[in-house]
């Protein structure tokens, strides 16, 4: 915990967040397939993985995230908890870091490995070295969720829930979407917005 707190503090001081896709494509719309789905990216386990390669029985959850953004730091325990469970349930998970480690050292490959170890990530955490994948998605912030169904079409995009402050959470958008996807129900909230 001390190590995590130190990283959190350092990150807040450095204060770098996703400068993702500022001039990228429009945000991927509901019903569209994942762009650049076959591009392989370096995974923290030393291997390489594409979005297609991460697909699960019920679909695929793509999350753009990083180690340095304040929003991610607020959500990182929730990210670990939810995504481990989703993957276990049969939803493919791939977390993509599009940030430049030259801007924030904690976003280095080693930093990603360390963070994943500390938080107990059991899912892939890959490097989008050129940020091209993020740009292709029209991703503009971290964390940002893109959930695809078993046919590879986008069924939910947006945030994890309705508050960075866990005490204030009343709407669990991402978990609700995954629950609906698995059960075959209509996803009630297909898009959400958050500050980031």
């Amino acid at each position: 915990m001390k190590v995590t707190r130190a990283i959190v503090f350092a990150a807040l001081v450095v204060a770098l967040c996703a400068s993702v896709a500022s001039a990228g494509a429009d945000r991927l719309a509901i019903g569209q397939p994942a762009p650049m789905a076959d591009v392989v990216m370096k995974n923290i386990d030393g291997g390489e993985l594409s979005i297609t390669g991460a697909a699960g029985e019920y679909g695929t959850l793509v999350m753009f995230s990083c180690n340095s953004c304040g929003s991610v730091l607020a959500y990182q325990d929730r990210i670990a908890m939810y995504l481990n469970k989703f993957q276990e349930a049969g939803v493919g998970v791939i977390v993509i870091n599009p940030n430049d480690p030259a801007q924030a050292e904690v976003d280095s490959f080693e930093g990603m490995q360390q963070r994943a170890k500390e938080l107990g990530f059991e899912f892939p955490y890959v490097v989008d070295a050129t940020s091209d994948v993020a740009r292709a998605f029209g991703a503009t912030r971290t964390p940002e969720v893109f959930l695809f169904d078993a046919d590879g079409l986008l069924v939910y995009t947006g945030g994890i829930d309705d508050s960075k402050d866990p005490e204030q959470v009343t709407e669990t958008y991402m978990a609700d979407a995954v629950n609906a996807l698995i059960s075959g129900d209509e996803i009630a909230v297909k898009e959400s917005r958050s500050l980031g």
Binding site: A15, T140, K164, A175, L195
Partner: protein
Amino acid sequence: MEGSDHVMNLGWVARLAAVALLTISAIGCSAATFSGAPQGVGASAQVDVRPVSASELLEIIGESDAEVVLVNLWATWCMPCRAEFPGIVRLYRTYQSQGLEVVFVSGDMKEDIPQVQKFLTDQGVDFPSYLKVGKDMEFIDTFYPEWSGLLPATLIYDAHGTVQHFWEGEASYEEFESRVLEVLKPSFEINPPGTEESS
């Protein structure tokens, strides 16, 4: 049926997550530093950081007597926000006497008020600033529904409280200045600064 079991498990996880995070969040969630009172934390020299809801923010803008109100939404952890910040402060210093009011609204969490205050102080902000309270989507939808939530975001209001410019993402000093002047200029034409109305 296997899927249904998973659904139940995930529902349980969803509920558990919010509760569990009260104790395991790396950032911490103490409310001790945020009483809700409109005052800063720590040394008196620090900038006054006030909590603000979207509706309160709209009231502040609506009640302003300024010719132009520039609202900038930012966060300490947002690099583009930090990059453009000095330019906005400079703009305020340059055009304050001509009727420009700047309202900074931080999207940081309440636990981060000390960092917010330090940043504002370092930037030379000496007027009250604000920290967004309430849920993101509610804030966005109430304040300005066209806003995606991306930081930084800037809105420029005219003297009637109407939005004349809105954009998301970082802008240069020149871009800020030209947009402010575009809104400020009509006032100059009617009553240029330094010109006394004849009685």
